[in-house]
Symmetry: C2
Subunit: 218 residues, 2 copies
């Protein structure tokens, strides 16, 4: 992949999940090649930006055909590390946590959900998608005895920092954060905030603009 790929800029990393989504779906079609212009139409990114991003990974499209969809998808998978097995645990078995227990997105990305934790006695012992909800008291013991790469956090905001501190102390290096509160972690911990309502926010901004513009016209 070349030395460049050792430190992919965050701005490009932010676009990788979008490339992945569309290439995954192009794979299912009977198309063999895709042009940067077609990718631009799908992703909303400019074709020049796309060519720049993909050339960053040493990908070369055939001028006449465009990019080989299969090769490009394989390459994106490798760059994203989806070809390596990673173990994830889920902290918080509330409504969102339970939905994430059934998330079909893990396997294709090389993740395996290995445990679910909660402190609610009514949830502990329940089996969700073949995984039994464990008592949060056993969190540290489980992390100590099992290789865990990522912890998904869906606990209430009030408990988020406390649980985060426990995860960090227990040796977790990456946190997938669904709590909408700011979390403090040491510099060597990877923290990805998943703003579940991000799309709802963007829609509201755009609908508001249309509303304002319409009221101007009237």
């Amino acid at each position: 992949m070349g030395k460049d790929s050792y430190n992919i800029p965050d701005i490009i990393i932010g676009r990788l999940p979008v490339y992945y989504k569309y290439l995954k779906n192009l794979q299912k079609s009977n198309k063999k090649y895709v042009s940067s212009e077609e990718l631009a139409q799908l992703t909303g990114f400019s074709s020049s930006l796309i060519r720049k991003d993909l050339s960053y990974f040493g990908t070369f499209g055939k001028k006449s055909y465009g990019y080989d969809i299969f090769c490009l998808f394989q390459q994106i998978n490798i760059i994203m590390g989806f070809n390596y097995q990673k173990k994830i645990i889920l902290i918080g078995a509330g409504h969102l946590g339970q939905a994430l227990a059934y998330n079909k997105g893990y396997f294709e990305r090389g993740y395996e959900l290995t445990a679910i934790f909660d402190k609610n006695p009514n949830l502990i012992g329940l089996v969700i998608n073949d995984i039994e909800i464990k008592n949060i008291n056993f969190l540290e013991e489980f992390i100590k005895n099992n290789e865990v790469d990522v912890a998904a956090l869906t606990v209430p905001g009030a408990a988020a920092q406390k649980i985060t501190d426990r995860l960090v102390t227990a040796g977790i290096k990456a946190i997938w954060d669904f709590t909408e509160v700011p979390l403090k972690v040491p510099d060597d911990i990877l923290l990805e905030e998943q703003l579940i309502n991000e799309g709802l926010c963007k829609l509201s901004v755009k609908m508001n603009q249309i509303r304002i513009n319409d009221s101007e016209i009237e």
Copy 2:
């Protein structure tokens, strides 16, 4: 708000949910002012970018104190249209759909969840968070008789385009899309794709880089 705010660039709209999250939490603290440097530390955006974004909305921080947190939060709310009531319906009452039925993020953003639809006879009639799951057959009738601003889509990928076409024909103007398949909509329809596994992808990329770098060192 000034004419500029009529057409906020997508790049800035993309950062608004992040500003909103941190300002919401700063509100709960007893701080009165926040500097662009403090916001930079929280959001990961550069302080100059933040000053540029906020000045775009005509916000001026006191040089000595920084930005008034309350005023800035109110202004962000107005720009995001959270002060206007919007009605949302949910299509697909599977695991993710049910989690979204309990989503606490609607009210603070001016959204009201007014209906949930599914085609599964085992789900139709069930009450989730005080809302009864309706038969998808009544989708068009409901949209006709009720003002619906946004439809959240959590149906299986195979059904996504068909349901989207029905929503568009029924007059829905904004779709919050959780299906990880590309959807075709007319140009006048707002479509926001919520990639639920985006954070998982980013973590994988970064963990993969660390893995590669470590193996280089060994």
